[in-house]
């Protein structure tokens, strides 16, 4: 796909919800303590958050996230034009989560609502879909909500050492507004490398399998180039960017990407140490954390999601201050 351009888009708010149930990686009983310490040191992940009831539908989490987002942004329910949900935790259930949410809130019947099946690249894909759709609506300004999240623990075998210490469950809702008078551009580079389908997949037993070496390789092979192409097409260089928000895969991959792009620590926001790998929610969680820490830099920002597919997506957007929250909920 060529580079996709859009304009007039701004992120107005993010609400993230994590389960209250906190797990310490040091307490995983089927891996010996020394190995656990090394896993924690190198992945950067000590604590993870997982839902208590493994049968719990993710729609409940999204409901809480949207409710909180509407409160953070003070958006009226009937002002929403688009609702897109991105998850791989719907358990093949129908109808689409977005349709269920439309009904549970007082969203208009004119809301465009559908789900997308993507993982770690999903937030950027969703942002692109929404930015292309919003500008096509015949209104001077319009609004969308992007729900992104996964209950990865529903797909994880409790004795699989390659995934158990990595993933947290989390959902997010992001408020995106389009204003026809806003001339600021945004740009996307969306790519798919299906030859990497075996890097992360669900097996016949329903459990997720992850090949850490291949995920590392595909990330190094494709993500830096994806970002460089995006910047080149906008006549920008890596150091012109105020901040980078990468999908939070693990510390090994994220540190390597930072080195490959020659970025300093101040340019890169991380949250993996606090929340683990939260799949498609990891970029909004990292942005919300930056807002709450008061470290969000306004200006040109790169968002880059990559993973299961193998799917890679980066966005170049102008970031402004936004209403954010990270809430722990009894899920």
């Amino acid at each position: 796909m060529a580079i996709l351009n859009s304009n007039g888009i701004s992120i107005k708010g993010i609400a993230c919800i994590l389960p209250k149930n906190k797990e310490d990686n040091l307490n995983i009983d089927f891996i010996d303590k020394n190995n656990l310490k090394r896993i924690i040191e190198h992945t950067g992940i000590k604590y993870r958050y997982t839902i208590k009831n493994k049968q719990s539908p993710i729609k409940e989490g999204f409901y809480q996230a949207v409710k909180k987002l509407l409160s953070n942004t003070r958006w009226e329910e009937n002002s929403i034009d688009i609702l897109i949900t991105i998850t791989q935790s719907s358990g093949n259930q129908i109808p689409a989560i977005s349709c269920q949410l439309q009904n549970e809130f007082n969203f208009s019947n004119r809301v465009l609502a559908y789900d997308i099946n993507l993982g770690c690249s999903g937030f950027v894909y969703g942002l692109n879909s929404i930015s292309q759709l919003l500008k096509s609506i015949d209104k001077p300004s319009c609004r969308a909500i992007l729900c992104c999240g996964d209950y990865s623990s529903q797909l994880i075998h409790k004795e699989d050492p390659s995934v158990r210490p990595i993933f947290s469950d989390a959902v997010s809702a992001t408020a995106i507004e389009f204003n026809r008078n806003d001339s600021s551009n945004c740009s996307f580079n969306l790519e798919t490398f299906g030859e990497g389908k075996s890097a992360i997949y669900t097996d016949n037993d329903g459990y997720m399998r992850l090949n850490g070496i291949d995920v590392f390789n595909y990330s190094m092979q494709y993500v830096p180039n994806n970002i460089k192409q995006l910047l080149q097409s906008n006549s920008l260089k890596a150091n012109n960017i105020k901040q980078y928000f990468f999908h939070q895969a693990n510390k090994i991959i994220n540190d390597s990407l930072q080195k490959k792009l020659k970025l300093n620590d101040e340019q890169v926001q991380n949250s993996i140490q606090l929340y683990g790998n939260t799949s498609t929610a990891s970029i909004p969680i990292t942005i919300a954390k930056a807002v709450l820490d008061d470290t969000l830099a306004e200006g040109w920002t790169v968002l880059s999601g990559f993973g299961v597919g193998f799917s890679v997506a980066s966005a170049l957007i102008k970031m402004e201050t936004l209403a954010s929250s990270i809430t722990f909920f009894d899920l």
Partner: protein, 99 residues
Amino acid sequence: MQLTKKILFVYLQKISNKSPTTIMTKEEFIHFIAKELEIEEKSIDLKSNFRNLKNWNSLNALLFISHLNEEKNILISSSDLAQSDTLDDLHLLIQQKTT
């Protein structure tokens, strides 16, 4: 043919602005892997099966590959590993990928 290829490679490296990625000698490779796995250099040789080495596990394999990528800008996939047995196989693989 091999020599011509090598001369061309060195020439291409010289004219590019990138820092040269030099070929890893057998001694350097033994030193590299011993350091990665935190084991004595003397305890291993090129005939050793890397899967039987003390401290070889999935995390250390990933760290080995990530550090190799950082130093030599090459990538070793899981299928590359599956097709290799000894340290000599791995060293050959690194040489092939470096050139």
